[in-house]
Symmetry: none
C-alpha cells in the first residue's frame, strides 16, 4: 500500500477544538464530566498516581456552555513527583450530521512544563478512518482542581 504523502505545513484536515474538564467533587453529579477513580499516592506533591476517567464535552470555542461538537472519552493520570505531568489517552467521538467517527490522541502531556505540547494521534474510524497526525495542546484556563479548558489544535496528516 502507499499512503497519501503529507506536508507538515499542509495537513489533510486541520481544526481547533476546546476540551472542558469538569471534575466530579461528590456533589456535582449532574454537571461533572470527569472523575478521579484512584486518589493520588502521596508520592511527591503533584498528584502522582491520580487516575481520572473522562467523558468531556468538546466545543468550537472556549465557552464550556457552547454546543459540543464531540465528546473526549478516555483517561489520564499524573506521573511526576516534581511537577505537573500527565499521560493521556483520549478518543474524540463525533456524532453529528457534520462529522461521524472517532480518532484517538495518546501521549505524554507535560502540561506543567510546556505551554504548548504535541501529542500523537494514533488512529481513527468513520470520517476519520485510519487517520494519524498531531494534536497540539495548550491549557487555556484552570480553576483549581474543579475545571480546566484545553485547546487542541488537530492536524491530521493521513486521511482516507
Amino acid at each position: 500500500y502507499v499512503p497519501k504523502s503529507f506536508d507538515l505545513k499542509k495537513p489533510c484536515k486541520h481544526f481547533v477544538l476546546y476540551l472542558h474538564n469538569i471534575a466530579y467533587d461528590g456533589d456535582n453529579a449532574a454537571n461533572a464530566t470527569a472523575a478521579t477513580i484512584v486518589k493520588p499516592l502521596g508520592l511527591g506533591d503533584h498528584s502522582f498516581g491520580e487516575l481520572i476517567i473522562i467523558n468531556n464535552p468538546v466545543t468550537l470555542d472556549q465557552n464550556y456552555l457552547s454546543k459540543p461538537v464531540a465528546r473526549a472519552q478516555g483517561f489520564y493520570f499524573y506521573n511526576m513527583k516534581t511537577n505537573y505531568n500527565a499521560w493521556v489517552a483520549w478518543t474524540l467521538v463525533f456524532n453529528s450530521t457534520k462529522h461521524k467517527g472517532t480518532f484517538t490522541i495518546m501521549d505524554a502531556n507535560p502540561f506543567g512544563l510546556q505551554p504548548a505540547r504535541d501529542l500523537s494521534i494514533v488512529g481513527g474510524t468513520g470520517d476519520f478512518l485510519m487517520t494519524r497526525g498531531i494534536a497540539t495542546f495548550k491549557t487555556k484556563l484552570t480553576q483549581g482542581s474543579k475545571y480546566f479548558c484545553v485547546e487542541m489544535n488537530i492536524k491530521l496528516y493521513e486521511c482516507y
Copy 2:
C-alpha cells in the same frame, strides 16, 4: 511524502535502550520511579490486576545510574492468573540536544512467558513524528518486586 517501503531488516531508525523500574515501597520516595496505584486482586498468584504508573529513566547501557537519554512515561498492569504477563503503554520522552520528541509503545508484554517479545510502536512526535515500528523487549535483570531492567531494541519502520 511517500514513506520508504520498509524492509524488516532495514529499519529507518534503530537503537537499543535500557529502561529501569525502581518501585516505590513507601520509604524510597526520593529514588522511586514507578508506583503501584491499584493493588493485586488476589485472582491467581501472579499479581492479576496490579496497575503501576511509571516515569522511568531510560539509558544507553544497563547501568541504572548512567545519564538518562529519555524517560519512559505511562503504565502497565498484570493480567494473567497462571503466569506473569502484562499489558503496557509506555511513551518514551526524549528531551536532549540529541533527540527531542516522543514515541509510544503499546502492546501485550508476555515477559513471564517469552525471553524476547515484540511490542508495537504506534506513533510519535517531534524527531519521531508519525513514526511506527517494533520494540523488542528482553528482561535483563529483576530484583524481586523492587527493581527490573528491560532492554528495548527499537526498530522504527516509518520515519518522516
